[in-house]
């Protein structure tokens, strides 16, 4: 499990390579390909050993590294030998060039993302309020749709603003009014409900409120009632409807 989570520490093969370069204190402009390829493959193999899903991009990069490595092992071509601009040309032909460029390009945006993160946090420290209701001051100005210059994104943007604002603004009192129901209470409710319905009810009918908390509490309440042997569950066959019965049902001989 731990590894699953940690795998997300990398945003892809480029991110992993940058990490290796940094960790091995390698000059990004002069990457020892053999070394880094070895490290990279070690990583990929371990991922596999740990039975983690290795995204195809990582495998493509592994192939690229191997290709660069083999190109670098090839002997220099004869014709280059007496060429005065040998050094320059060999730099031009460096099989690592493309990869280095990609790494540098990616790194720029990775750093820019860090800046954005800081800005996001700073901005999050400022709280706003919704526009006041100014209906008392207005007489309705009738405008037709043609005059408006709004897009779907304006609407979405306004909605996001609202969502952000609401999160920051819900006063403490709402917390109390929205207090979730306890498992104990829900257990009592379920028993009471079963009592009213001949002590037997479809499992799904015990989830009348389409809210996550309510569903979870109900589910836990059912489990607890089962544990205490106050209810039983039956299902005629696989995928058939599940029924929940309380003790009264058995006494009445109701299924």
């Amino acid at each position: 499990m731990q590894y699953n989570v940690k795998f997300d520490a990398f945003e892809g093969p480029l991110d992993l390579l940058l990490h290796l370069i940094n960790r091995l204190e390698i000059d990004i402009y002069d990457i020892p390909v053999a070394n880094i390829t070895e490290q990279y493959l070690l990583y990929i193999h371990t991922m596999k050993d740990l039975q983690l899903d290795v995204a195809s991009e990582y495998l493509v990069m592994a192939a690229t590294l191997l290709a660069i490595k083999s190109k670098m092992l090839l002997p220099k071509q004869e014709e280059d030998q007496f060429d005065e601009s040998f050094d320059f040309e060999s730099e031009e032909d460096d099989p690592r060039n493309e990869l280095v460029e990609r790494l540098i390009e990616y790194k720029k945006y990775k750093e820019a993302a860090t800046d954005l993160r800081t800005m996001e946090e700073e901005r999050g420290l400022m709280y706003t309020k919704p526009p006041s209701d100014l209906s008392d001051y207005s007489r309705e100005a009738a405008l037709d749709l043609g005059n408006m210059d709004i897009s779907l994104y304006d609407m979405l943007g306004a909605f996001q603003k609202l969502l952000r604002r609401k999160k920051l603004q819900r006063p403490v009192s709402t917390k109390i009014s929205r207090q979730e129901i306890s498992i104990e209470k829900r257990m009592a409710e379920i028993l009471e409900l079963l009592g009213r319905f001949n002590h037997r009810k479809s499992f799904y009918e015990l989830f009348p409120v389409p809210e996550k908390e309510h569903i979870v509490v109900t589910f836990l309440a059912i489990l607890e009632l089962m544990k205490r042997k106050e209810i039983s569950i039956d299902q005629e066959s696989n995928f058939a409807e599940i029924f929940v019965s309380s003790k009264g049902a058995e006494l009445l001989g109701n299924h």
């Binding site: 309020k129 526009p131 006041s132 100014l134 207005s138 408006m148 779907l152 609407m155 920051l168 389409p210």
Partner: protein
Amino acid sequence: MEIINWKGILESLLFAAGDEGLSLKQISGVLEVDELRANEFISDLQEEFESSNRGVTIVHLAGVYQLVTKKEFAPYLKKLVESPGAAHLSQAALETLAIVAYKQPITRTEIEEIRGVKTERPIHTLVSRALIKEVGRAEGTGRAYLYGTTKEFLDYFGLKNIKELPPLPEKVEDDPTEEDADLFFEKFQESVDL
């Protein structure tokens, strides 16, 4: 000893609370002082607002303290509302439109619960521009109007149907476990809805 800027804190709290305002209890809770003390702070701040060239002041309404614009500036607010800049939809109207689009059919009260402010005017604006319309009545007492989007809404935004609206992001998208749970709940919901 560190000097705590009570007035600044109190003002920021009241500002962020907007029209919902804050009770004495909430204020004393956040400031970690007793209610008597909190009351003093409020009075002090109120006095300062009243006696200065500030644009807002504190009122005590329906059990909560809230910031409001001073009455003397009403003519300027009126001017703001009537200024030609209002040719495009206000943010209030856009927010309302988004809520209707994603949660239809929905009553005004439900919209107001989500927005946290009165929404009569934005609804009126949207209805008069034919972007939303009454699509029925809610069950129960009051039988409030339910609002939904119109064909003009789809035309205006170039949508074939309402399903073409971009889906809303699930809460915290960077938590994959959260998402699995959501998927679970969706599936579960489907079966419950049967």
